[in-house]
């Protein structure tokens, strides 16, 4: 695909993409766990020629955590809606724009994402709460906006091509 040929090692931020634009993935699905899984399969398939197995793991993890949060918290059990993912393969970075129309993030801000405490023994171990820590650790850039009832999260995931 054209995007591979345009990769320039060491190149900085991309501004205007050449004609044809970057390899792009677009999907809009109902925000449910199985639909999230199918979207992730389709996205990884779309970029399989651009992303190695380790980077694919990072991309799948970050997007799974973002999308699971939308399913569980933006919509929750009492409401259902859609989520849209637009992902562009830029040099050394996969930039994903994720939109949903559910509840906003608390305080209109991306959570700090501190790791939950491991507790004092097996019975107090956490069974969740790692999502934002994983997203923040793996992603290189995150931006959130609430815009007329729409949550817009932009996340950049570094791609090493290894």
């Amino acid at each position: 695909m054209a995007a591979e040929a345009r990769v320039q090692p060491g190149s900085g931020r991309t501004r205007d993409e050449p004609a044809g634009g970057p390899a792009r993935f677009v999907a809009r699905v109902e925000a449910r766990p199985l639909a999230v899984r199918m979207l992730l399969y389709a996205l990884l398939k779309r970029f399989e020629k651009h992303i190695g197995p380790s980077d694919a793991g990072s991309v799948e993890l970050v997007l799974a955590e973002i999308l699971n949060n939308i399913v569980e918290h933006a919509y929750g059990e009492e409401s259902i809606g859609e989520v849209e993912v637009v992902a562009d393969m830029l040099p050394e970075t996969l930039v994903c724009n994720v939109q949903d129309w559910g509840r906003s993030l608390p305080g209109l801000a991306i959570p700090e994402g501190a790791l939950p405490s491991c507790g004092a023994g097996i019975e107090t171990l956490p069974e969740g709460g790692w999502g934002w820590a994983l997203i923040r650790t793996v992603a290189s850039d995150l931006d959130y906006r609430r815009d007329a009832g729409c949550n817009r999260l932009r996340v950049a995931i570094p791609i090493s091509f290894e």
């Binding site: 999230v36 197995p53 990072s58 699971n68 097996i122 171990l125 969740g128």
Partner: protein, 112 residues
């Protein structure tokens, strides 16, 4: 959620034959493990060699399994694939579990 059990020395080995433990199957995974755990010996080894993806819901489910096996039974993990090992490392859950690089040979000790 496909789980296959075999006996290895004093341990019960549970092989997860799905390629992922994620938000879509975490509850089913816990339910199946609860059935298996009801008559498990004190040592249970979960073989994750075929699992190529675990998200935080899947990780939470694995922790939940360790919690409901305790205190009389202990959960160990084996054969984590690279991306799954990364999730355990980033969440520091690799310090909580006994993790074997490969499925232990019969008769080996409990490995820490």
């Amino acid at each position: 959620m496909n789980l296959e059990t075999t006996t290895l020395g004093d341990a019960l080995v549970v092989q997860v034959t799905a390629d992922r433990i994620d938000a879509a199957c975490a509850i089913q995974f816990k339910d199946r493990m609860r059935e298996i755990a009801s008559n498990a010996p004190p040592r249970v080894i979960m073989d994750l060699g075929r699992v190529r993806f675990v998200d935080s819901s899947g990780l939470g489910a694995i922790v939940a399994v360790m919690k409901f096996l305790a205190p009389s039974r202990r959960l160990e993990l084996a054969a984590l694939t690279a991306n799954v090992a990364k999730v355990f490392h980033l969440t520091r859950m690799d310090a909580v579990f006994t993790i074997h690089a490969t499925l232990p040979a019969p008769g080996t000790d409990h490995g820490g």
